[in-house]
Symmetry: C2
Subunit: 416 residues, 2 copies
Amino acid sequence: MSYVILDRDTLPEYISKLVRPMEVLGTGDELDITEIGDGNLNFVFRVSRPGQPGRSIIVKQAVPYLRMAGESWPLNKNRMITEIRALQTYNEIVPDFVPDIYHVDENMCVIMMEDLGAAKVLRYSMMEGEVFPGVGEEIGKFLAESLFRTSYVGMQSVERRELMQKFVLNDDLCKLTEEFIFTFPFVNHESNYQNSPVNKYALEVLSGDSEYLRRVLRFKELFLSKSDALIHGDLHTGSLMAGLDGTYVIDSEFAFFGPFGFDVGKIIANFLMSYTSHFHRNGGEEYQNWLLGECAAIWNTFERDFLRLWESAPNSALIFDGMLRPEDLAKYKQNFMTHIFQDAVGFCACSLARRTVGIAGVADIRDIEDIDVRTRLEKTNIDLSHFLMMNYENIPDIASFIAEVKSFYAQLTIRS
Amino acid sequence: MSYVILDRDTLPEYISKLVRPMEVLGTGDELDITEIGDGNLNFVFRVSRPGQPGRSIIVKQAVPYLRMAGESWPLNKNRMITEIRALQTYNEIVPDFVPDIYHVDENMCVIMMEDLGAAKVLRYSMMEGEVFPGVGEEIGKFLAESLFRTSYVGMQSVERRELMQKFVLNDDLCKLTEEFIFTFPFVNHESNYQNSPVNKYALEVLSGDSEYLRRVLRFKELFLSKSDALIHGDLHTGSLMAGLDGTYVIDSEFAFFGPFGFDVGKIIANFLMSYTSHFHRNGGEEYQNWLLGECAAIWNTFERDFLRLWESAPNSALIFDGMLRPEDLAKYKQNFMTHIFQDAVGFCACSLARRTVGIAGVADIRDIEDIDVRTRLEKTNIDLSHFLMMNYENIPDIASFIAEVKSFYAQLTIRS
C-alpha cells in the first residue's frame, strides 16, 4: 500500500491482514495500543491483546521528517529500509541480541517485531541506580560479533562489498550524525541546548581550543570515510534493553559501514555521562564504580571476543594466511586493537560534547531540574570531553583509560 | 539484447543500428576493424571508415572472465557498469581529460567512445624516451579535479553518498587490486612472475622483513576501507594517452570510492619504473631527470589545484565554514595534504613491487630480453619499494621525495 502515517485508530485494521503478527496477537478482546519510545525520529507503538500476557508486538513506523524538529526537517525513507536491513543482518549474525522480526513493509516504512516485554531501557534504569550484572560483557559480545563478522577481517572481499551495498543508502541519518555529533556542538548553532550556561562554556573550552577542533575534524573524517564494518551508529543506553534473559540492541536505523571505534566510544560515553549524573542522583560512589567496571567489561570482552573470532578466521579480505609469521601477526593484531581503542576514546569525547550541548541531550542530566546542579554536571562532561580528546594518543589501553577517568573525576569538587 | 561476445565479424551489424556511432562513422566503404589494447581484461576495437580520417570510434567490451588468466577466472559484469558510470562522472567533472561517450549498453558490457586518434599511450612512448612537455601538470590537474570534486571536502554529505552508491558494486575488480597489489607480490604465489630471479629476491628483501609487510597491510587496510573520493583505481602510464591537445585518462573500470593517495602513488610508481628502465633504454640521465621533474609536477599541480578548489568551497560534508579560524584551517589543510602525500608514497611502494614481481609487470622492463639486465633493473625496483615503504613517514613533501629518490638511484652501480 502507499504511504500513510498509522495511528491508534488505523493500526488494528492494518495489522489484521498480516499473518505473522496476527499469529502472535491471537484473537480475543479489541487490541490495546500504546505509544512508547522517545519520539525523536519515529512512532513506536506496543500492540497487545488484553488479558493475554505474551500476546503483544512492537510496531515502529518512520515519518518523512525529523520528528523532534518537525515537518520542516525532512528525512527520506532510507532510514527505515536501513533499520530493516540492519535488523535482518543482526538476526543472522547476533540473533541473541535483537528482537525477532514479524513483518516489514518498506513502502509503509513499517517494521513489526518481538515485544521485549519486561526488558528495561538501560538509560532509565541506570538513572535509578539499578545494577545489571554482566551488562558490560553482553555489550562487549554484541560489539565483537557484529563488528568482526561484517568487517574485512571477518569477511571475504566480495561478500563484504555485497553487504556494504545494502547500507550505502543511509544518507540522511549519516548526515545527522556528521552534523549533530561532529559539527553543531562545536559552533554557535541554533540547534544547541539553550537552557543552560553550558552552551557558552563549551564555546570557550572546546571551540576556543583549535587543537581540540582539529581532532574533532579527524574523527569526523573517519566517520565520513572509514568503512570498517557495519556499525549500529547510535549505540547509547537508550538503544539498549536489559531483560532477564540478556541484553537487547534496538533502533538500528543509523546503521552503515563506518569506523570500528564509533559504537564502542559512543556507548562508553553514555556510561560516563551516567557516572557524572550520579554525583547528583542516588547511586553514589558505589554505583559510579560499578559503571566504570562495566566500561572495562565492554572493552575487555569486545577485545577478547574480537581476537578469538579472528583466531578462527585466518583468511579474510585483509589477511592472507601465512603472509605474516605467527609472532608478527600477533603483534599486528595487538596494534590493530590499540588503534580501535584510541579511536573509540576520540569518538567517546565527541559523544560527551554532543549529548551535553547538542540537540537531544541525555535524560540522565537534562532531566535534573536544578539548573546550578545541572550546569555543574554538564560542565564536567565538557571538561571530560576535552581531557579525553587531548589525551587519547597517550591512553593505550582500557586500564589506563579507567585510571585516567578515575583521577579526572577525583580532582573535581562536585560531589554533593 | 542479451550478452554475446562481439568480434570483427559481428561488430558491423551491431553498430549499424546505433544512431550516434553511425553519425560519427558516416557512410562509405566497409568498416575497418582492428583489435587494439593490451587485452588483460577486455576486448578493445578501433572501428573506422576507410579513407575518411576522423570517422572512427573505439569499442570496448568486457568478457565475463579475467582475459589474461582465461575463462577459469570469472569476473562479473559490474566492472563495465562501473567503467560506464566513471566515464560519465568524469565527463561531468573533468571533461577535458576523457573521451566522449557515443553509446553504452550495460547488458552487452559495451561502451563506444571517441577515438583519441593520434594520441599515444604514454607507456610505450616513454619506453622510446619521448618527452611530453607538461604531461605531469596535466596529470596533477586531473587528479586534483577528480579527487576533490568527489570527496567530502568537495561535496555535500547527501550528494556524496548518492554518488558512492553508483560505485560500491565494483567488487571483483577491487578484489583483484587487493590481491594483486597488496598480497600476492609478497607471498610465494603461482601468479607471480616466474621468468626472473627477482621472484626469489623479493621474497627475501620484502617478504623477509616483517615491518615492511606490516606496512603493506596498513595500506591494504586503507584500500579496503577508506572511501575518500572516486579514484580511478588503475592510473598507470598505460591508462594515459598524450595527444596534441592534452592528456587523456582511459580504462576506468577499476574506479570506486577509495583512498586519496592511491591514484597519485600508482602513477608516480610508473614514472619511477620508467626511470629504472632507462638505465638500459636510450633515454639516459637527461630523460631520467625529465621523469623525476614530471613526478614533482604531478604532485605540485595536484596540491596547488586541490587547495585552490578547496579555497572556493568553504562548506562541505567535512568542513563547516567558520568552525576553524582561518590560520587554523590553513594549518589543517596543510596537514591534510601531507597525509595524502605520505599515503601516496606508501601506495607507490606497493605498486613498485606489484608491477615487478606480480602478474602483468610493466612492459618498460618485462620487454627487456637480456635476463641479466632485466633482473638487475627488477631488483632495483624491489629495493626502491623497500626504501620508500620503510621511510615514507620521514618524507614529508615532494622536494624531500625527489631528493631521496635521486640519492637512492645515485648510490646504485647499475648505469650501463
